[in-house]
């Protein structure tokens, strides 16, 4: 579950407007904390010869072509984001996220998460599901996040609070 930070959006706007250097610094600092997680996650993406051959790009035709697997593309699809998202139906907006954007990467990430390791496809995938709870289980990104054990999260929040303190000190009327 994400940690809710009150006033983070306003802080980001204020940083960009009044202290652009601090904003950039904060963004960079957050990125530095997330990059190891992303790197580990990409490392869990299998090579092309490790997945069922029929799933590979070139062997899928028609509507399945969109979900065909390519290891390089799937790895590039994993990344992080420090810009706020749109507010969801529940009223929350994400400030900092780690993403697995490609369809093939998402399939590798979540296959068997709900139905179990059954059928003709899922058992042939290498890697195991890791993470707490059904929605936080996965083979790559979620696995890396779980292995990080919240260090990156804590560091990101620390960075946000620290930049807020810096900003407040800067903006204080003397």
């Amino acid at each position: 579950m994400p940690t809710t930070v009150k006033g983070a959006s306003n802080l980001r706007k204020a940083l960009k407007q009044f202290t652009p250097d601090l904003a950039k610094e904060t963004t960079k600092e957050i990125g530095n904390f997330l990059k190891p997680v992303v790197k580990n996650a990409r490392g869990f993406i299998p090579a092309n010869d490790q997945v069922p051959s029929g799933w590979l790009v070139g062997n899928q035709k028609g509507k399945w072509e969109r979900v065909a697997f390519d290891s390089a593309i799937a790895k590039r699809g994993i990344g992080y984001k420090t810009t706020p998202s749109k507010t969801n139906r529940s009223g929350f907006k994400a400030l900092v996220s780690i993403l697995n954007k490609t369809a093939a990467g998402a399939i590798y990430e979540t296959a068997g998460r709900k139905s179990g390791i059954t059928g003709r496809f899922t058992p042939r995938l290498e890697g195991s599901l890791s993470g707490q709870g059904q929605k936080m289980q996965g083979r790559a990104m979620f696995k890396a996040y779980a292995q990080d054990q919240g260090k990156a999260k804590g560091a990101v929040l620390q960075a946000i609070f620290k930049s807020a303190d810096k900003f407040n000190k800067t903006a204080k009327v003397k």
Partner: protein, 504 residues
């Protein structure tokens, strides 16, 4: 498919639905608060009114009892009675609204405060034992005090009606005391009695609060007292009401002014229309509240009513006239039909002219009417001239004037002949000739008084035939010639005779 992502940090900014829900909740909360405030105000007002009512009832009962004491010359005992009632109310759990009437009945019967107090305690015991109302029990006891013991039988004293009648009141009272003494206290000490005591305390509290409320309102009214307060409350309510009306009108006027798609001129016109309607409403409303506006309105209304009355009278008159004309018209129609029918009959020229004139007058044919009127006038003039002419003629004998006399004389003579009185019959009549001279024999027969003689008289009657017939042969020849001539002339009698088909 949504991206797979892990949110490291997020912020709750609130969804639209949340904002709507929040707004709706806030609105609901406000509404509930308003409702609560309204209910609170309502219940508070109702409670205050109830308090005031409770105080009013208690005060009324107390004043009635005080009046009874005064009437009995026991006014000095009023504080004592009040204290007794209050103490009894507390100990027995029976409200003073019941104790006072019960005590009053006993007091008016016995005339003694002490005796009434004693009997009231007895009544409370009997009431607690029987479950009857203390006022009813007191009434029965007061009747028994003066000898009407019938009402006590229902309380189960174990006495017959005869025994009740035979016993004195003191004996009956002793019996009641023996049977039911202490029942009231037991009842008061029970759980139900405790509840009653709490209720009594609550009632007393209501009365006290009500008394305070009335006094407070009286104080608030200043020199005018309670009436001033009530007037002030009404004025305040009126002001609040006017305020609400004013707000509503302002909103309506602004709404009309800022209507969609209106030019400034149109907007101002709409605004004026709305405000004019409100002014009219105010004008009408002010008439109901008296003052100059009401007086003016009454005068205007009276003038209008007077004006309306005149108009109605005129209309009634016109309607009456129209009705009469219609009726007359119907009559003329009947007359016209009669005239036409008469014209078809056999009438004289003058009558025809007159009828035609009437018909022309009925139908409104002026030309014909004037012409016919002239003719009628001329005819009337001619008739008058003729009358004058006849009047101017010398008198002439009526050739028939003697007929009536002659006929009367003939009737008289016929009567005489029928009666056989021939002597009175003139000879000229009996002789049969004009000369009045009869032959001697006939004269004798007429003049003779002896009828038998006249019957027996004999004589010859000579018939003288003048002309060429002298002898019998001449007569026969004359007759034969006559018959022959007639036959030759074609007389029907002759022809019939020849054929034998006629009688002659």
């Amino acid at each position: 498919m949504a991206d797979l992502r892990i949110d490291i940090a997020s912020e709750f900014t609130g969804a639209k639905a949340f904002k709507k829900a929040d707004k709706a909740t806030a609105g609901l909360e406000k509404g509930v608060k308003r409702l609560g405030a309204t209910l609170a105000a309502t219940f508070t007002t109702r409670a205050l009114v109830n308090f005031a009512k409770a105080f009013a009832q208690d005060d009324k009962a107390a004043q009635l009892l005080t009046r009874s004491l005064n009437n009995l010359g026991l006014a000095f005992a009023d504080p004592q009675v009040r204290a007794f009632i209050s103490e009894l109310e507390t100990t027995s759990g029976v409200v003073d609204e019941k104790l006072r009437p019960a005590f009053q009945r006993l007091l008016t019967t016995t005339g003694s405060v002490e005796e009434s107090q004693r009997l009231l305690r007895t009544a409370l015991d009997l009431s607690a034992a029987s479950g009857a109302d203390v006022v009813s029990v007191s009434s029965d006891l007061s009747k028994a005090y003066v000898g009407q013991t019938r009402g006590l039988a229902k309380y189960g004293l174990g006495l017959t009606q005869a025994e009740l009648k035979a016993m004195t009141f003191e004996e009956i009272q002793a019996k009641i005391t023996k049977l039911f003494a202490g029942q009231a206290q037991v009842a008061a000490d029970s759980y139900a009695g405790s509840i009653d005591k709490i209720a009594v305390a609550g009632d007393n509290a209501k009365e006290i609060i009500g008394k305070g409320l009335v006094e407070a309102l009286g104080s608030a009214g200043g020199t005018s007292g309670l009436a001033g307060s009530l007037s002030g409350i009404i004025k305040l309510a009126t002001i609040v009401s006017d305020l609400f009306v004013g707000i509503g009108r302002t909103v309506a006027a602004l709404g009309a002014f800022f209507g969609d798609g209106l030019s400034p001129k149109q907007a101002f016109a709409e605004y004026q229309k709305v405000t004019a309607a409100f002014r009219l409403e105010d004008q009408i409303a002010r008439r109901q509240y008296g003052g100059a506006a009401a007086t003016k309105y009454q005068k205007e209304a009276a003038a209008l009513a007077k004006k309306n009355l005149v108009v109605v009278t005129k209309q009634t008159k016109i309607i009456k006239e129209q009705t009469a004309l219609q009726k007359a018209g119907t009559l003329f129609d009947i007359q016209g039909a009669g005239i036409i029918a008469a014209l078809k009959g056999k009438i004289s020229d003058e009558e025809r002219t007159r009828l035609q004139l009437q018909l022309a007058l009925l139908t409104g044919n002026e030309a014909a009417a004037s012409k016919l009127a002239g003719e009628v006038a001329r005819s009337q003039g001619l008739t008058e001239s003729l009358v004058k002419y006849y009047q101017g003629l010398p008198s002439a004998k009526n050739p028939f004037s003697g007929w009536l006399t002659t006929l009367k004389e003939a009737q008289e003579l016929a009567s005489l002949i029928a009666a056989g009185d021939y002597k009175k019959v003139p000879l000229s009549m009996a002789g049969g000739n004009d000369s009045g001279v009869f032959s001697p024999v006939v004269q004798e027969m007429i003049t003779s008084s002896n009828v038998s003689a006249r019957a027996g008289a004999s004589g010859n009657v000579t018939v003288y035939v003048q002309g060429s017939v002298i002898s019998e042969a001449d007569l026969v020849e004359a007759v034969s010639n006559g018959l022959l001539n007639r036959s030759l002339s074609g007389s029907p009698s002759a022809i019939g005779r020849l054929k034998g088909s006629f009688a002659g």
